[in-house]
Amino acid sequence: MSDTAVPDVGNSDANAAAAAADAMAATLAGGADERLAYRGVFQRLFVRPEIGAIVGAAAIWAFFWAVSREFGTAGGMSSILDVSATLGIMAVAVSLLMIGGEFDLSSGAATGTFAIITILLVKDVGDLGGAGLSLWIAIPLSLLFALGLGWINGMMVERTGLPSFIVTLATFFVLRGFKLGFSKLIIDNLTVGRISEAQGRGYEFWEPIFATVWIRNEHQLEARDAIYTIGILGGLALLAFAVAELNFARRDKLNPGGLPIFGAGVAGVIAGILYMHNSDGVSANSIAAAIIGVAGLAAFVGFCMWRYERQEAGSLQLDASVSKLLAAGVIASVLAMAFAVVFDVDSQEPVLDLVGALRWPFVIAAGAYAAFRAFQKSAGDSNTQSQTLINVSSIAAASAFTMYAFMFMTTEQGLRSILFGVTMLAGLILLAIAAGNAGRNSPITRGLVLTVFSAVLVALAFFIRSQSASVKFRSELFSVLLVSALVFFVWAVCSTMFTQRRFQEAKADGFGTTLAQVGGAAIAVGIIIKLLFTTQAELDAGIARAGFRISILWFLGFSLFATWLLGRTKFGSWIFAVGGNKQAARQVGVPAARTKTQLFMIVSVAAWLVGLLLAFRLDTVQSVAGNGLEFEYIIAAVVGGTLLTGGYGSAFGAAIGAIIVAMTKQGIPSARWNSDWRFAFLGIILLTAVIANNFIKTKAEESR
């Protein structure tokens, strides 16, 4: 038997191990481990389970903002949040359960059940019998029912060992039957009402807790826009500094020479904003914008000079891959603008009429012929050139078919915006990829590509201002594009001038994270103030009423609680453990059955809360209320990054997922589309989200 399999485990090795341990202890004291390569800011963000949901939410919001009138107004926001609140409370609870490795299909029906139970408990004893209890008794009593339902679900799953899918499907049908059956039996009606019959029996106390509405139009704050502007701009600036702090390598010794430049830049930005605020007219605005741009650049470069290590810019290396992508990106952007100019913006003509009903067969025929030719050619000789030809002609054929499909549905105006949007997006993505590739060549090459990117954004901004029929695009999108262009240009300059970090630095990480948190909070405060208050000018213009319900606060509170529970408590660790590897969790002493049962109880308590919110808001509840919503909860949780197989996910992600689902529910009608398409849209989002999440999860495991 060979002895090579075993290293000599004598005293010398043991001593070596001890020495290594000492060295480790030394690094522990120092904080970060020097063997850990530093992962960039964006790379680190990328591996969070909820990042896909946040990006998705932003994209969907931007999409509906562009196509509908309500999105982007306080009223639109209130209705999105209103729908997300009840959906989100459930989605967050369901995501906890799913991380714990189980499903609850009865969760939707349960919301209606607890609303009905509560109403029946407080309803007057009359011809249509209720129990006539005080809310002070009815609310705890229905909570007990809720805890009981969760306990039963959990015990049945644990005791029988059956999949929770089956057990809770059964509970779902039982609840559904009970809701209908008891409603008819007790009050002989499918609509159960009314909770307001508890007037004088606690209604006055509980109603505000579950049904207060903040009417925006009744709250004026003239300083609102100033707070909003300061919050947004200050927050963005802090975020930008945070990114710099997390991305660049700190100098060993600070360079005070950067401070005056930084100070002058900040002063310039403030002056520019004040000038813009206090003057009117297009030329004054342009001057102010120019001042803000230059001063912003100076402020940022000054800040970086003060704190970060300079680097060699390197030589310009525009190799084939970069220059091709760069050219393609610029061409696509120009093409996009050309499309927008060529097509008529006001035309409501169906495209088919425009092209001429006779011409479309030729489009298809041309595409098909090209594909056929390419196929023929490739059969003869399979060199790269014919391969390229096949690719090109298949794309041509596919585009011809797609175009034809779109022509059925769209008007010339619609076709114009689709062509413009898709081509423009493609151009920007190509440029972004070019920037990524250029970064591998030299800093200056990336700087150049980013400058081109920024220039394209500026051109786009002015193009939209001159061409768009929509005021919203001409003002808001214009400014957003200009600000983004500035951000990218600043980034181009700074990433050329300063060295990227290669190692972890605990201090810089801490400071950067704090900056980012404060920045995020400032932006949030700005937006919330803008949403909650109105101004005299708006009232004079006759703005629509918008109300924010207290259910939004419940949603926020519950999401924060669940996030804390999952991330910071023992119970949270156990949730991940029972979902990830139940056997292992049991072996180390985690009470797996109890943890899962408690998760079922959390879901049913959430359903009870949502039930009360519904009952107080609607006063009467349909006996079918909530049925079928359980799949929306699951979709929201999955879109938020929760793994269907358990053991991975985030409560915060589920909350964002609920907002996404709510946006699609509200967005489609507000874009004046047929709301029958809603489910198709939801399905596509679910599929995209699952694919994206799987990808992120794989990346998360790799990049560690």
Binding site: M1, S2, D3, T4, A5, V6, P7, D8, V9, G10, N11, D13, A14, A17, A18, A20, A21, M24, A25, L28, D33, R35, L36, W564, R568, T569, K570, G572, S573, W574, F576, A577, G580, N581, Q583, A584, A585, Q587, V588, G589, V590, G647, Y648, A700, E701, R704
Partner: protein
């Protein structure tokens, strides 16, 4: 090793087994097993497949009860009803399947089931910085080199996972550490790493029971060897009493192996 032996070798054994037996109906799974585990020593349990190693661990770890013989922990007879009781008494088992949750971070796995908490009931939370610090420190003490305690256990190599499990058992004040075939699924280098941790654990005063079917892994680290074959003890030796060669022969059923050797030689000669 020798230091540890000098320190604790003379005392009463941590764990004593005297004629332990286990029967499943008419099947004799284990009979007449006698050995001891001393603090700071490694007792290796060797046996081929089906020799009764698994039954042996399960008795020690409280999964099964023994049907015959005496099982004494620090001189007192014990009779465990559940793994939890064995764990509380200081006997920790690290199984082949490792009791780890792959998608959870190293520090969460390290503390799973016994997280250190802060705050007052009902508002209690896990002291995360403290937990991460302890996890890293404890593993450093064992000479285990974990880069980032936030990384998911699933991304660790087999040897690293074993070492996290060992460090965890040591940290939770185990007196006796049972390792079930920790090297069986590992490559040469990884096995070496795990063997080093075994020695390290013994040096810290634990009694280690190392179950394996590889004498080449057992001999260098072991102080005492119990050889099992078909549920019977083939002998219980201190290191001085046996060579690796003899150990290998005994384990494979001694005489049978010799016979096989003769047969093979005859076959080759006859060619």
């Amino acid at each position: 090793m020798t230091e540890a032996q000098d320190l604790v070798g003379g005392e009463q054994p941590l764990l004593e087994l005297d004629g332990i037996g286990k029967f499943y109906g008419n099947i004799i799974a284990l009979q007449g097993i006698t050995t001891e585990v001393r603090a700071g020593e490694v007792t290796c349990v060797l046996g081929d497949n089906g020799a009764g190693k698994s039954t042996f661990i399960k008795i020690l770890a409280g999964v099964h009860k023994h049907d015959a013989g005496d099982f004494r922990l620090e001189g007192k007879p014990v009779d465990f009803n559940s793994p939890r009781e064995a764990l509380d008494a200081g006997i920790a088992a690290v199984y082949q399947d490792l009791a780890m949750v792959p998608l959870m971070s190293v520090w969460r796995n390290f503390f799973l089931g016994a997280e250190p908490t802060k705050g007052v009931f009902p508002v209690r939370w896990v002291d995360k910085p403290e937990a991460k610090r302890i996890a890293k420190e404890e593993m450093a003490k064992m000479g285990i080199d974990i880069r980032d305690t936030e990384q998911p256990v699933g991304t660790l190599s087999g040897g690293e996972r074993q070492s996290v499990a060992i460090a965890r058992a040591v940290y939770y004040g185990a007196k006796v550490l049972i390792l079930d075939e920790p090297t069986s699924a590992l490559g040469v280098k990884q096995s070496g790493v795990v063997l080093r941790y075994i020695v390290e654990a013994a040096k810290r005063g634990l009694g280690v029971i190392f179950i394996t079917h590889n004498p080449a892994h057992a001999y260098p680290v072991g102080d005492r060897f119990l050889i099992l074959n078909r549920g019977q003890s083939m002998g219980n030796f201190a290191k001085e009493e046996i060579t690796q060669q003899e150990l290998t022969q005994l384990m494979a059923g001694g005489a049978e192996l010799e016979q096989l050797q003769h047969e093979l030689e005859a076959a080759i000669a006859g060619k």
